[in-house]
Amino acid sequence: MSNIIEIKNLHKTYLKGVVPTKALRGVSLDISAGTFACITGPSGHGKSTLLHLMGGLDKPDTGSVHVAGQEIYQLPDKELARFRAEKLGFVFQFFNLLHNLSVLENVQIPMMFTKVPKEKQEEIALKLLTSVGLKDKVRSRATELSGGQMQRVAIARALANDPEVLLMDEPTGNLDSSAEKEVMDIVGRLHEKGKTIIIVTHEEEISRKAQRIIRIKDGCLDL
């Protein structure tokens, strides 16, 4: 199977105050299309940084990231934004829903950036929310939902533009066990449908389900 993600010699340094901290030190890896991969490792060792760089949310110091054959850091801002909207879906630990909007509108947001007509946006969003079991919550505000429900909305939003890759940063880190099961069931179904799923997690339960485990330690791959 062809690689959907190809990372070469990725370096990233952050400034903590005035002290430079190396988050990634020359990471190189490939991920095949349709893989369910977990990135694990101790806290603060570069897992989330790697995920953010895969998704074009940050800029590496050096190195390259190819997603679906495209070197994403060669793209100008506008095209990178469009690429994110079309090819990538993000799910975060703290759900990151927009509280001023309804559940339905939250799911519609990514489609606004890919110029999907309003009626079509609503149709797709409804379908996705039905698929994650939230059909009856479409008009609710995000703040009226439980943690598990919010994360399901976040997954529906991530799927709005039918992306090839789902990037999930501790998606169950803030959920109780039943909500975690609901979320992971959805993730399992998505994987079965052929989506590439990359999850940053501390939880071994999730890692066990993954086809591939990528361990990060001190900013390097722990082989």
Partner: protein, 388 residues
Amino acid sequence: MNKPTLIFRNLLGRKNRFTFTLSGITMGIIALVVLISLGAGLQAQIHQQARDLGANMIVTAKGWCAYEQVKVLSGAQLPDAILPEDLEKIEAIEGITVQPYLTLGSAINNEPVSVSGVRITQLKDIRKWSIREGSFPDPIEQKYGIVAGYAVADSFDLSINQTIRLRGHEFTITGIMEQHGTADDGVLFIDLQAAMEVYETQGRVSYIAVQVDDINRIEYYSRLITDTANVAVISDQQLLNSVLSVVNTVGTTLKIIAIIAILAASFGIINTMITAIYERKRDIGILKSVGSSNQTIFQIFLGESALYGLIGGVIGLIVGNGISYVITPLIAQNEFTAFVRASSVSGTIAWQDMGFILLGSILISAVSGIYPAYKAAKLTPVEAISYE
């Protein structure tokens, strides 16, 4: 979902801050609209008053400034500065019609009221006065008669045959005029001779309105009058310009203050929008992570700022027009505001001016949003999304 909906939701999601920031810009627009509206009414009324003066020239005492010239148009009290011998000399000039005015003051129920001594019989034709009740006083049989302007009769609830004491002399109201929409509505008119006698001016008058038979010879008569008598002459056009320049100076100053208020409100918008960046850093990150470009974030923030201007501008225009319509009749009367009170056109503002005000409001608000919008757009997605 589209950008305008998102912009609306963002603003309405913080109702208190939205309301207070909006109030700032709205207040500024209200002030501007009221001032422009009253100014427009004032100017229109001055033009009308100048037209109704029925004179090509005004003869005044030497050395009068614009302030006194305003009073000529408003009918307010002026010093009795033209000597009887000068009046006599001017009246002797052929080819002109002369109307002397003695503008005085008195009080009814301790409220100041303007009184003018004029030759009522001639002036009523020149000014095209019409009577609502009673009749104009006969200069011989009703020497101490009063014909009251519409507004003054209405304010003091005056009636026919009612007596009013002016300088200890009893005058009787013989007539109440129709509303003419000029400063005449606010004046009690009495016979010139009676006024000179009661106010003991020894034949002096305040100013003289002069009508020239041959309009092409205004210059000639103007020179003739100043050569003949120890007075100054001002043409009706000069008088109008002089009064307008005073009014415009006051109006411009007030408008500048209103514009400063709007600019001050624009800093409120900057403040609100910068606060919004910190409050919504995570939201900015979310939008970027799901596909928003820097340009879109910039547009959203700029749109929110401009919306303050649009909503504030519309509310300001509606409320400002309403206020100027309501407060016009309540304005205390003085030399300047007498025009506004009497005006039937005050409380209005041209559509074109409203368009400019709305556009200005949107523009100022949008400009206020440029810096915050730039700052918001420049945040990296990961920086924004990691914000706690």
